[in-house]
């Protein structure tokens, strides 16, 4: 094996060990944050497949997130006075969330056959609005607008993850267990993505992204590629939606709006479109933003800690504002995202001191 492959593998091993050890070294709130970052990354991997690899612009990700969350809720949640639920195990509702969302994604995908770019984006936007209305009205599943319902609890093979687990000298708290589960799902999704990208089908996807008419002329069934791309993306979103719901414990239909779709798009744009590390890097920025603002708030005199009365901006407003600015700045200055910036930095370091001569920018 070459030294770069060895180096790559060493890095991956160290990274994996660190990732597994992380929750045992952090408090509950931090672990929850890391869990949410991983969940965001899983959803973003899906969007990366359909938008990054296959070039099908989708603003409809939040719709698939909702499908996954509500499939899980109906199968795994408890029946209440107004909502239905079947109290099934996570080993049933998590794959079901994937399958249900993937099927919906496949059904919806024909819209991408005739439309491209901006028109496809607007159509998926319309889909989100119609979906919002559907979820608001379907109260037996969602509990209705403004009310919501409890999500499917994380009960793995009969054992609720809410209980602490003691293995020898190590005790895994509930947030830690959920984190490790999400880490496993994330690892699986990333592995699948990398394999897909390097496969013949992945190359077909990229061909469809670049010039789908030419790809068809070459014999690639672009329709089939688009259907699969949408199905995979929706499936990932479904899993992310179900896990996210389990993490928060309660879901309300109004939260699956356009802003959520834009958030996922921002994750892959900031992280680096079409890259393997992009979803995770982007998720760190986007999902971690509220925490960063929370941490910085005492240092900023014009930001209020609570309601607006204490200062000019609330924390939430600052965080949303920064998030919009981040999207703009990254798109203008750094279209390859953080992943691209890191790659450039690494190449620059590797060729130092000749990096200036070899700089192609």
């Amino acid at each position: 094996m070459t030294s770069s492959v060895l180096r790559h593998r060493a890095l991956l091993t160290v990274g994996s060990v660190a990732a597994v050890a992380l929750p045992f070294l952090s408090g509950a709130t931090s672990t929850s944050l890391y869990t949410r970052i991983l969940i965001g990354a899983v959803g973003a991997i899906g969007l990366n497949i359909v938008t990054g690899l296959t070039g099908q612009v989708s603003l409809g990700h939040s719709f698939f997130l909702a499908v996954g969350a509500y499939t899980a809720a109906v199968l795994g949640g408890t029946a209440g006075r107004t909502v239905i639920g079947h109290d099934l195990d996570m080993t049933i509702w998590l794959p079901a969330a994937f399958v249900a969302a993937a099927v919906v994604g496949a059904v919806v995908s024909p819209i991408a056959f005739r439309l491209r770019g901006l028109y496809l984006a607007i159509l998926t936007l319309g889909m989100v609005f119609v979906g919002l209305h559907l979820f608001r009205e379907w109260t037996s599943v969602t509990g209705g607008a403004g009310i919501g319902r409890p999500a499917a609890p994380a009960v793995l093979l009969g054992r609720p993850l809410a209980e602490d687990l003691a293995v020898g000298a190590v005790t895994a708290t509930s947030p830690t267990q959920l984190y490790l589960l999400c880490l496993a799902v994330f690892a699986l999704a990333t592995l699948a993505f990398v394999n897909l990208r390097h496969s013949a089908f992945g190359r077909a996807m990229v061909a469809v992204r670049d010039r789908d008419v030419a790809a068809e002329a070459m014999g690639i069934a672009s329709r089939r590629v688009k259907v699969v791309a949408f199905a995979l993306a929706a499936g990932c979103a479904g899993v992310a939606g179900a896990l996210s719901a389990a993490e928060t414990g309660y879901i309300e239909p109004g939260s699956y709006d356009v802003l959520l779709s834009v958030e996922y798009l921002a994750i892959i744009l900031i992280g680096g479109v079409g890259t393997a590390a992009g979803p995770l890097l982007g998720a760190v920025f986007v999902v971690g933003m509220p925490r960063i603002v929370e941490w910085a708030q005492p240092l900023l005199p014009f930001v209020a800690a609570g309601t607006r009365d204490d200062g000019i901006l609330t924390r939430f407003e600052l965080q949303t504002f920064l998030y919009g600015v981040l999207i703009v700045v990254f798109l203008i200055a750094q279209p390859d995202g953080v992943s691209g910036a890191l790659t450039r930095a690494r190449d620059s370091a590797r060729t130092w001191p000749f990096s200036r001569l070899l700089d192609h920018n």
Binding site: I111, G117, A121, G126, V130, F321, G324, V328, L331, I332
Partner: protein, 298 residues
């Protein structure tokens, strides 16, 4: 019958409003091929400016409006210069994403400035209405319709007759050739954004008249102009007004009769029906009624 006529009149007026908003999208798209998702937030700023001047400072309403429109146009041109200019050579979707980012950031600032209560515009029409044979017509609705007609006429002349308008159409058709022919693309985009900003401020004012007022959710209402633009065709001015009016009428009629006949589709279906129309149009005839088709090139 009177009920239907009242609904139709309200629908046409609301549709004129959507048309004004839609025209903002069309002008920017005609010039640069970019959908400016920040338009609703710019609209909120414009309406806010009018409100602050007319209500808080007691400025004479037409003057307040004029100032707001000018300020918003200037502001939009600055935004274009700083944020959109670097995106010229990039694909239109990337530019559209930048406008989404702008929308998010601008919406937060505008909402913060508007405050938690509904703001009135200080317009002269208020709740005045005139009764024509049993049908109630609000003065503000008449104003909306008149404004839309005037604006559309002016814009049509602008694009057809003036040099700048012609240059814009040339740039939208083929940017590289236009640049090669000496068309100042950057300045053109700035002008397009300025016009769109002015239209947004005007539309924003109209959204708040008649005692409705503006608040933090107003910007989202503006997104309903998109189905109208899609129906009419993104690069068509007359399409924007036809599409806007159709959406407005559809919404009004659904609202009036929906409770009785369409209860199965849920409450507030009139808010969703523009998007259902959007889906329908995109699936059947994506370029809209009057839009120009993209030629599929391998």
């Amino acid at each position: 019958m009177d009920e239907l006529l009242t609904a139709l009149v309200r629908g046409v007026a609301q549709g004129s409003l959507y048309a004004l908003l839609g025209l903002g999208f069309v002008v920017v798209f005609k010039a640069s091929g970019v959908v400016n998702f920040a338009q609703p937030a710019i609209m909120l700023f414009g309406a806010l400016a009018t409100s602050v001047l007319a209500v808080d400072h007691g400025v004479w309403f037409p003057l307040a409006l004029l100032f707001a429109v000018t300020a918003t146009a200037a502001g939009s041109a600055v935004v274009e210069r700083v944020v959109m200019r670097p995106m010229i050579s990039k694909p239109p979707f990337a530019a559209a994403m930048v406008t989404i980012g702008l929308f998010i950031a601008a919406q937060v600032v505008a909402s913060n400035l508007v405050g938690l209560e509904i703001r009135q515009l200080g317009d002269p029409w208020g709740l005045d209405r005139v009764d024509v044979g049993g049908v109630r017509i609000f003065h503000s609705d008449i104003a909306k319709l008149v404004a839309a007609v005037v604006v559309v006429t002016l814009l049509n002349r602008f694009f057809a007759v003036t040099r700048t308008g012609l240059a814009m159409r040339a740039a939208a058709h083929d940017q590289e050739v236009a640049i090669a022919n000496g068309v100042p693309i950057g300045r053109l985009f700035g002008t397009a954004w300025a016009i769109a900003g002015a239209l947004a401020a005007l539309a924003g004012m109209f959204l708040g008249v008649g005692g409705v007022g503006i608040d933090t959710t107003t910007a989202l209402l503006a997104l309903k102009a998109l189905p109208g633009v899609v129906l009419g065709g993104f690069d068509s001015i007359k399409g924007a007004i036809v599409g806007g009016v159709v959406v407005g009428v559809l919404e009004a009629v659904t609202k009036t009769y929906g409770q009785d006949h369409l209860a199965a589709l849920g409450n507030n279906f009139d808010q969703v029906v523009p998007y259902v129309l959007l889906l329908g149009v995109l699936l059947v005839r994506p370029y809209g009624l009057f839009g120009s088709k993209d030629v599929l090139r391998p």
